[in-house]
Symmetry: C2
Subunit: 455 residues, 2 copies
């Protein structure tokens, strides 16, 4: 049996995932609000036949703007703009279930799916920052549990809305003047704990039926949600052993939900730092780390750990008395990953900042294109990944290097497509278009009515 | 003094504003979800050097899909897609203050303003349908007054957010590693009746500062809101006298708010039905009216009037016992316009449907290009309009006819631009970029602190 083909997503972020990337001579420090920059990146990724590009998001201004490019264009409108300048590549945006209404968000993703010809994906997040809560009428961050409960109901409503038009509801019959068949429109009729949504979506069912559903939380609730609903999972994993454990756990959980584990794709993040020689790659990595302003980075780390910046000595290890993950209401799994990384490798705060500055908890891998390709195939062949979330340290140059130097190696080895074979994002990932259950449900209800009446 | 130049907006809607336009041989009945259709329309409008294109919107599925093309792509993502395939023309989308959160919506418009290079406009609506309320956790439509109160506060918050970055906040200084000046970021710090929004927007101030603010309600509250805030006003006016009265009223109200009346542009809707001869134009209009399915149209009219469809006899006038406008919580001014039109011209329900099917209350004008140009100039020269909201009965053909036949006449008469002279939507409309008051406010606060301390 030939090995499974890999799936590759490009995680786009202004000048790159290394927080000091904007300081390199090649970088445009103002790129974060320039759509031309993102259009260029998406076109580079499409040249490499990647499955998709992806944008992270949170509805708040993150930290001090002194440190690094801050602020960003809202990702759903960015996807719409990119759909117009690309033809094949999938387009995934992050959006929060805690700070949106299902009708609005389901509609935007259905619209993007239409205008991209079936290339939309939604990275479902519950948004774990107090800053965001305070932009949406709240004084406190809703608990982790409350956010995930709302997310469950949100997604249920969104699916009802995406399925509220039968695929055959539109007739367009000019002769009779009958544009559509109202009997094949199914109002959401949802009345739940968090939401009441009565009507049908005002967007016909989209090319993919539902956008691709992506998830990136690795906490207990996050894994449960991913196993129940996600079709692609982005995850931060530092070692092969951890990645294998996560992969096996998620596939097992998906099976326990009655799902085909092959339809839940696990994509660990990797921050490739590429050079034509190992020395060149290490030099680029070192240059980037030198450009980090340590004091700013310490403030950010302190925020993640929930301690005051003064409690972190740059040249000492992390304090011993940090809180357990169970007490963290924010990004639980990221918290644990960072603390475990620091403890395992006995890193000073300064060293930890270097590691995080590169990939914010994701695995940084410096090397030649051959070495990066080996690292990717190694995890895929050892039960740790169905593909990768590529997070170039510097963009566009790092994405170009990956596409032009690493992708051809994966193609030569028969592990990556040389042409797009499908037209939708679901087809790129080998996932089916969801059936619409509503017509059958409506028929069954009608039949039950007739039977009850005939008794 | 040469007469003022006109402003022209193209109101885009699937196959055209006549509800039966989709039944014409030339029309694609599936165009409403095709972005290529809207890209074509926007490019036609841009070829005619129009100020802007515009999309109406409501977050609910409107009526029975049997009657005419239903469902539509969400307009903010449509604007983003159109920004990528046009260069000059302004892009205006409708969005509801009742069913959005200020942080999310302010952010999307700021993002579209960035990615279009300063071409975004927001048509502010409060959304007057029960169907929409029932998609957003409500059992009843909020009252007209409550919706406008929320809109006032919504807009105040949105402006705080658009102004939360000083124009000079970004430094991008690679040498020192200082990307921005956090002192020039001003959190919204809004705590009001409907909203609490603490933070700054996570989008830097956009090319236009604020998107162009558009309004289209003509009720008492709608006019007050427009006079206080709007920079362009779309309105439905059937006769010159009514249009003059509305124009004068709005300018007077704007002045009473201390605003320059010249910076509140009034654009009545006009539905041009063009033919090379008058007879040709009338034949097209008659053909369209023949294609209306009267029973469907009656249902829709009944909904607007708040009566049961059976109460409307197709071949009789409207019932005498309709409610006064004051009891209507929905679209007040549209209700009155329709009732007055029917009573004034003693129209049967069937005749009224023909008039509404063409323009839904807007003025239909059939004629040659010369006649349409005359009609436009006539209102502009007689204190009834600063420009027009062009609503072609059939699209693309009616928009093409307007751009290729009417626009050149207006250009020859020196009443319309022959090239774009500005780059932003505000520049097209001759409106200034709003200043950002926050830096001065922050300085004044600091000075007061120093003075208090020195006493």
């Amino acid at each position: 049996m030939s090995p499974k083909p890999l799936h590759l997503n490009a995680f786009l972020m202004n000048t790159g995932h290394h927080e000091a990337s904007w300081r390199l001579p090649e970088s445009d420090p103002l790129s974060s609000t320039k759509i031309g920059h993102y259009a260029n990146l998406a076109q580079i990724a499409e040249r490499g036949k990647l499955d998709s590009v992806f944008f992270a998001d949170s509805p708040s201004l993150w930290g001090d703007i002194g440190r690094r490019p801050s602020g960003s264009l809202e990702p759903t409108v960015v996807l719409a703009a990119l759909a117009a300048v690309t033809e094949h590549i999938g387009l995934i945006a992050t959006a929060s279930t805690t700070y949106n209404e299902p009708y609005n968000l389901a509609r935007r993703f259905a619209s993007i799916d239409h205008l991209s010809g079936g290339r939309a994906g939604w990275n479902i997040v519950t948004t774990a920052t107090l800053d965001a809560a305070r932009n949406f009428n709240l004084d406190a961050l809703p608990t982790h549990a409350a956010r995930y409960e709302r997310a469950e109901e949100f997604l249920r409503v969104a699916k009802r809305l995406w399925d509220s038009w039968d695929d055959s509801a539109i007739l367009g019959d000019k002769e009779t003047g009958l544009w559509g068949d109202q009997r094949l429109v199914y109002p959401a009729e949802h009345a739940g704990e968090h939401f009441q949504v009565a009507g049908a979506l005002n967007v016909p069912r989209s090319p993919q039926g539902h956008p691709l559903l992506v998830q990136a939380g690795s906490s207990e609730s996050g894994r449960a949600f991913a196993a129940a609903h996600a079709e692609a999972v982005f995850t931060a994993q530092q070692t092969l052993e951890e990645a294998q454990a996560f992969y096996a756990d998620l596939k097992r959980r998906a099976a326990a939900f009655g799902r085909d584990p092959g339809q839940v794709l696990v994509l660990p993040g990797i921050v490739p730092v590429l050079g034509d020689t190992e020395a060149e790659a290490r030099e680029l990595e070192a240059e980037l780390d030198r450009l980090i302003v340590a004091e700013y980075a310490r403030d950010n780390l302190a925020g993640l750990l929930g301690v005051a910046p003064e409690e972190l000595d740059l040249d000492a290890e992390l304090p011993a008395n940090l809180r357990p993950e169970s007490e963290i209401e924010g990004m639980k799994s990221r918290y644990t990953l960072v603390v475990e990384l620091a403890r395992r490798e006995r890193l000073t705060v300064r060293q930890l900042i270097g590691r995080l500055g590169g990939g914010r908890g994701h695995r940084t891998f410096s090397g030649t294109p051959e070495q990066v390709a080996d690292a990717i195939v190694d995890w895929a062949d050892n039960g740790a990944a169905d593909g990768f979330n590529i997070m170039p340290a510097v963009m566009p140059s790092g994405l170009e290097a990956f596409v032009d130097k690493v992708v051809p190696i994966l193609q030569e080895r028969g592990r990556f497509r040389t042409e797009y074979t499908g037209t939708t994002l679901r087809e790129h990932y080998g996932l089916p278009r969801p059936e619409n259950p509503r017509r059958r449900e409506a028929l069954e209800t009608a039949v039950r009515g007739v039977l009850a009446h005939s008794r």
